[in-house]
């Protein structure tokens, strides 16, 4: 009999992530694609990519769970879960202890608190505006006319941090232009932008002793983790592929559902 395979599909507003797990919870294949506007098609393509990587056929998938903003658009999903649940489950899988999960996504941030058994105690989501999310960094990269991928490198070169005072993305953009006019260095400004992301996150909720950071923004800008450690003095943990945390959590939910059904 073929090995059991569980698919987790996280259709975020910005990127779609797929993770395929075997029953030992090992990642067999994965994919990340721009979500675009046709979520159904993107989730198909991403699944195809992950299947190819895993060398598994679609028919062999035991159970699929979709999550994220576009979760209801994933035609092949057997069930859906919220991204809050999936990020919590994914993060706890890697760090099974009482943790605060900080997920910095393309368009929203989440802070989820879990107890030592992985039960959710509370969660908060910032969704009123783009402040502190990936969209903020994208917008600022555009204003500074630097490729998004170079932000991380630039921030690491900073000698000092140019602090930005504003909540609002548009106000921040004006502030950045003002700083350039004053002759501030681009790396220092980029570090200031990273700090602004961190400040927006820390305003959302208090943190517990152990923190796990997840999401695409941290995957591509690990310097944010370094800065978060410095800022909070806390132990900050990161899964190997932070961007896949939600998709992995979704696959784990699927695994549980199948096990529960078998036990019933």
């Amino acid at each position: 009999m073929a090995e059991e395979v569980f698919a987790g599909v996280d259709v975020g507003a910005s990127r779609t992530k797929v993770a395929l797990l075997n029953k030992d919870k090992e990642v067999l294949g994965c994919a990340v694609r721009k979500s675009g506007t046709d979520f159904a098609r993107t989730s198909e393509l991403a699944l195809g990519e992950a299947l190819e990587m895993a060398g598994v056929r679609k028919e062999d998938i035991t159970f699929s769970v979709a999550t994220g903003y576009g979760r209801k658009n994933v035609i092949y999903a057997d069930d859906t879960r919220t991204e809050i649940g999936c990020h919590a489950k994914g993060a706890f899988h890697f760090f099974p202890m009482a943790i605060t999960v900080i997920d910095i996504g393309g368009q929203d941030n989440k802070i989820i608190k879990l107890d030592e058994r992985g039960r959710r105690l509370s969660f908060k989501m910032n969704r009123k505006c783009a402040a502190g999310t990936g969209a903020f960094l994208e917008e600022m990269a555009m204003r500074l006319d630097i490729p998004l991928e170079e932000m991380e490198g630039l921030a690491r070169q900073a000698v000092e941090t140019v602090e930005l005072g504003s909540f609002c993305t548009v106000f921040s953009a004006t502030e950045v232009l003002e700083k350039i006019r004053q002759g501030k260095k681009v790396p220092d400004i980029v570090k200031g932008l990273f700090l602004s992301v961190i400040k927006r996150v820390l305003e959302m909720d208090s943190l517990t002793e152990r923190v796990v950071m997840t999401g695409g923004v941290v995957e591509y800008n690990p310097y944010l983790v370094v800065m978060m450690r410095e800022r909070t003095g806390l132990e900050i943990m990161v899964p190997e592929r932070p961007q896949l945390t939600g998709a992995i959590g979704a696959a784990l939910y699927g695994m549980e559902e199948v096990a529960e059904a078998a036990a019933a």
């Binding site: 903003y69 919220t82 509370s122």
Partner: protein, 413 residues
């Protein structure tokens, strides 16, 4: 032919009578405005309605009109008219949608009752017990119509209520009498006033008893029903019709309990709603909660029209007491204890705080209350961002995800 999608909401039979009462309320006002047969007073929703009725006025409530503008989703289109003349999008969206409706000459009364416009006031009477916005709101109309604007200035954020506060408010209410006599052209009649206070008391007791039926498990009705059926408690308290209505409704609710009829089929979770309704989204929200087998059993908002202290023997003092005792007038410690008591009575599993962008007065999440209550009561809380009327401040998808995640959390714990 396409089959009409059936709503999972269970209609309450008394709704028919409710609709009649609301319609008559507006027809009477419209007729009086057109013919001058009776004087019309505009009053804030938790303002001194009993006095106005006792003095023979027909009473119109702009906040009720505000809620209609919200529920019909006309508000979002009309608010910008008020913004454009200097009323900020950050202040009360009842105010901005109502003034916007006046400026654009559009009212939901036209579609619902074939009434062209809201009834012209002879006097506007406010009570700042709920907020300052009502005074600014009424003052705008006062200037527009050239009619007097009078009111009561309440002490706010009160812990224990002191005698001096009650004396002050009672005196302020009494002081409304001479200017009201001038407008009405009639002498104040104590017996008539006492009668209005007594009818309002009866209405209040019955409304409370109706709300308390939601303590039954499963609950016979939900917060979304409450927001509709509170109509008479707001616009018709102090009348016999309101009293009769709640007797009828109570009977139906008790029957539902007896026959084990649940408002939410298969009720699994019970929640408390803290804050204003999101008027333009009542239906989708109510259906969302039904799909999650969750019943919102109680709310601060719908409890706000309970005036237990009313007493015809001491009409001024008891009105002062009733309008000062309200949740919205009180300090954080009182509010927390109040919600704790509700928890013991209604047995809910969590609290949803609605942070209404334009109403700080009804958004109790802003000074750390969710965190404190969650710790004290050992139940989770969720804050959703939205607004009473301004749907530009609300994201349906985000609210939905938050609610679903909250129920997921309850399920897993």
């Amino acid at each position: 032919m396409l089959a009409k999608k059936e709503s999972p909401r269970k209609e309450i039979a008394a709704t028919k009578t409710l609709k009649k009462i609301m319609a008559n309320h507006f027809y009477d006002l419209d007729e009086a405005a057109r013919t001058g047969s009776k004087k019309i007073a505009w009053c804030t929703s938790v303002g001194p309605a009993e006095l106005l009725r006792g003095m023979g006025f027909l009473v119109y409530f702009p906040e009720n009109h505000g809620a209609m503008l919200g529920a019909t989703r006309m508000a979002t289109e009309l608010i910008p008219h008020a913004n454009a003349i200097g009323y900020s999008p950050d202040i009360c969206s009842y105010l901005t949608s109502d003034i916007g409706s006046y400026l654009a000459k559009k009212t939901p009364l036209t579609k619902a009752y074939n009434i062209k416009s809201v009834p012209r006031p002879d006097v506007l009477v406010f009570n700042t017990n709920q907020c300052r916005d009502v005074q600014d709101w009424f003052s705008w109309y006062g200037r527009e119509f050239g009619v007097p604007v009078i009111g009561v200035h309440t002490h706010r954020d009160i812990g224990q209520i002191r005698d001096y506060q009650i004396k002050d408010i009672a005196k302020q209410i009494e002081d409304l009498v001479p200017p009201l006599e001038e407008v009405s052209g009639q002498k104040f009649d104590m017996d008539r006033f006492r009668e209005a206070v007594e009818l309002s008391r009866q209405c209040s007791v019955l409304w409370r008893t109706c709300l308390e039926t939601a303590a039954a498990i499963p609950s016979p009705w939900t917060f979304f029903d409450h927001t509709i059926h509170m109509g008479p408690a707001v616009v018709a308290r102090g009348t016999k019709e309101a009293v009769d209505y709640y007797e009828l409704l109570l009977e139906e609710l008790n029957q539902r309990i007896e026959s084990g009829i649940a408002a939410v089929e298969g009720e699994k979770y019970r929640l408390y709603w803290e804050g204003m309704p999101i008027w333009g989204k009542l239906r989708p929200l109510s259906e969302l909660f039904i799909s999650l087998k969750t019943c919102i059993v109680a709310s601060t908002y719908c409890n706000s029209w309970i005036f237990d202290q009313l007493d015809p023997e001491e009409p001024f003092e008891s009105m002062a007491r009733a309008y000062t005792e309200l949740f919205i007038v009180r300090d954080e410690a009182y509010k927390e204890q109040y919600i704790k008591n509700c928890h013991e009575f209604f047995k809910f599993h969590g609290i949803i705080f609605h942070d209404a962008k334009t109403c700080p007065n009804n958004s109790n999440n802003r000074y750390g209350m969710p965190e404190r209550l969650s710790k004290k009561m050992g139940i989770p809380t969720l804050t959703i961002n939205g607004d009473l009327n301004d749907l530009r401040c609300y994201s349906e998808e985000q609210a939905k995800t938050n609610v679903e995640a909250f129920i997921e959390q309850l399920e897993e714990n």
